[in-house]
Each structure stands twice: as C-alpha cells, then as structure tokens.
Symmetry: C2
DNA sequence: TTCTACCTACCTACCGGTAGGTCTGTTAGC
DNA sequence: GCTAACAGACCTACCGGTAGGTAGGTAGAA
C-alpha cells in the first residue's frame, strides 16, 4: 500500500499510477519549468494521452502542490530524526546539513521544482506548505539558538545564520552532480566544517 | 547620449525607451517567470501595445538575454574593483561578499531573473553570458586559492568553497528585504564573518 | 450493469509574432 | 517660409499554433 495523501486534493484512483504521474511531473517541471511544461508532455512520460491524465489529476497545479508537499514532508522527517539522534548543537547542525545535502543529491528534480517553482505557491491552498517550509527552517534556527545558549556558537541572529547555512545546501541544486568527483556526504562535511568553524567562538 | 550596447542584438532605436523596456521586462519576468510573462504585460508596463514593443525588440528572448548580459557585466565590474582595492585574500573575500550581497539587494528583480530563468539560457547565443558567469566564479575561486597559498585559509577545494560562499549571497534573492531590519551591508558582514572564520586555520 | 481507465475530438483562451496602416516631427528643395 | 518626402514610433487587426481543460464514448474487469 502506498502512502495516502495528507490532503486528498486530487481524484482518488490507483495510487501507484498517481505516484508515477507525480514523478513524471517532477521530471518535466524540473526540465522545462512549471509554466513551460505541458500536461501533454507529462502524460507522454507516463505513457498516456493528456485527457487521461485528468482521470487522476484535477488540475496542473495539483501536481505542483503534490511535489511541494511530498518534498517538505520527507525533508522535515529526515531532518527531525537526524537532529534527535545527535548529541549536541554542533553535531545537530552537521547532521542537518548532511541530510539536506544528500536530500538535494537524491532528489535533484524535486528540489529544483521546490526551490524554483514557488511563484504559483500563493493563496489559501498553499498556506499549509508554506507553514511546513517555515517550520523546517525553524528547526535549524533552534539548533543555532541552543548552540548560542550553551556557548558552542557565537551569538549571531539565528534567522540570518540559518539562511547562510541552508543556502549552502539548497544552492547545491544548481551545481551538484551526484556522478561527479565528490559525494554529497563529502560536500556536506566540507560545508559543515565551514559552518561549524564559522559559528564557533574565537 | 546614453551608453551604446556592448552587443547590439536588437534593433537600434531610442536607447532610453529600450532601457525602459528591459527594466519593465525585468520586473515582469521576476514576478511571473520568463514563460509565465507575456509580451503584452511588458508592453503595458511601458505604456504601449504589444506590437509596438517589436519596434524596439526583435524577440522575447532578446529581453532575457539583455537582462542576463547587463547583470553579469555590472556584477563582474563591481567585484573586480572591490577585489583590486582590497589588501589580502581575507579582505578580498569579505569585499566580494559585500558587493554580491548589496548587488542582490539593489537589483532584486534582475537577480531573480538571472538566477531563476536560466532554462532558456542555452545554445550558441548564450555562450558569451555563460562564459562571463564562469569567469565571475573563477574570480572568487582565485581569492580562495591565493588565501590557501599564503596560509590565510585552510586547504579546501576552491571549487567547493566558492559554491558555499556564493550560495550565501545568491540565496539572498529568496529572502532578503531591503526594507527589513538589517541592511545588505550588515548581512554581508555576518556572512563574511562566517566565511572567513569558517575558512581560517584552526 | 457498473466502474475504472483510457481514448478521440474538441473548446476556449491566449501566446509570440506579423501585416500594414497612421500620426508626428524633421529635413530637403524650392 | 512652405510644402513634400521620409522615417521613427506607435496603432488595430490578425495569423498560426498551442495551452489547459472538457465532452463523450469504448474496452475490459468485477
């Protein structure tokens, strides 16, 4: 049994097919952008005609919504687990960066869509996703303020510092190549080194 | 007399009007994305009808091209000057970050287009822009390898480290608000602190 | 029979871009 | 100084094409 939708915005149907469609949409959106992609392209990727898509999906926007929701849920879960398993703020920060970087590496297309196609992410319908996105960022901010409280980190506004740290991992979607010379873990360790040393007290 | 174009890819006409159009396109592309934006919207922003636009611009793509070219030229120039005016690698790195961050702050729309709309940036026509973009990044990489050579910085692959550093500034386009509580300079100084400490030897 | 999953055919809206005309200010010839 | 030609800048009307989405039908499984 595949996972049920948290918000069933879409006509229920064979969940496996729907997952295939979302996956195909992820690839097509990533390559052509949300506006540049056509439903016909997505349909072709799944091996059906455009109108058949509408048997499983109500609107084009639903696909974008599904991609965003799925991604932020998975990333939040993985990060939460990594944080809980780490001993102190420094280890938590390193673990979060590692999760983020490997996540970007493993889900390049989805991350590309998530970070690049948020123009359409507006209005009531999206508040849920935006809220989760903020909650994710708050997890990182909390590590930073805990670290500042215990004296592990220098006293820098967590809202700004979190931007710097997440930027490193997020930006990976523009350049990181999983088949390149370095693994996501190796890159993450370098970034963690910069971040941890950069935030440590002199 | 206003400045002549470095590459006259577009029908010459009153240069001031053309500049207005590029500026309008920057706003509209930034808000709706390249594919989501229409020539009619851009025309309306300048106060004319769509067909009149084509008196000044040959194709929609020319506008994107103009935005990219203009931005990378300005950013490169400003960064070059800042680097040349700084004494040592550490100061150069801080200065570059400051230039990048204030640039993002001053040209949010253009930077948004530059960083977000590069799907269409392919083919012969764009090689020039891509080359300049790489050259910009190489400037930063050089600071890092110089710093590693003089012993100011720890020995981290400059290609990776430059990604981390540029990420901080670039990512600013997604969140930084010039009317917010902190100035671009203040944020840049924080980032520089993280980067410099993060790269310094233990 | 009824439901699911798919199809062909089609609708409306809008896109980038063109054709071709008009208005206006500048210049040339007398 | 007057007029005729010209060119730049803009317009309305329109084209071919494609987009998202719908109508309505069919084949097969239960």
């Amino acid at each position: 049994m595949t996972s049920a939708n948290t918000t069933p915005t879409v006509t229920e149907s064979a969940p496996a097919v729907r997952a295939d469609i979302v996956e195909a949409a992820t690839r097509v959106f990533s390559e052509h952008g949300y506006d540049g992609a056509s439903m016909a392209q997505i349909a072709a990727e799944v091996g059906m005609r455009k109108p058949s898509l509408y048997h499983h999906v109500r609107k084009k926007e639903d696909l974008l919504f599904a991609i965003h929701g799925q991604l932020i849920d998975e990333l939040t879960l993985e990060t939460r687990q990594a944080i809980d398993a780490a001993a102190d703020p420094a280890a938590q920060l390193a673990a979060s960066l590692r999760v983020a970087m490997t996540f970007v590496s493993r889900n390049r297309d989805a991350v590309t869509v998530f970070l690049q196609e948020n123009r359409a992410v507006r209005g009531e319908r999206w508040d849920e996703v935006v809220g989760k996105r903020d909650a994710y960022e708050r997890m990182v901010q909390e590590i930073l303020s805990n670290g500042a409280a215990t004296g592990a980190f220098v006293n820098i506004p967590p809202k700004i510092a979190s931007k710097a740290i997440l930027a490193m991992a997020n930006w990976g979607y523009t350049w990181f190549n999983p088949d390149g010379p370095m693994s996501a873990d190796e890159v993450a360790d370098i970034f963690a080194r910069i971040a941890l040393t950069g935030l440590s007290k002199p």
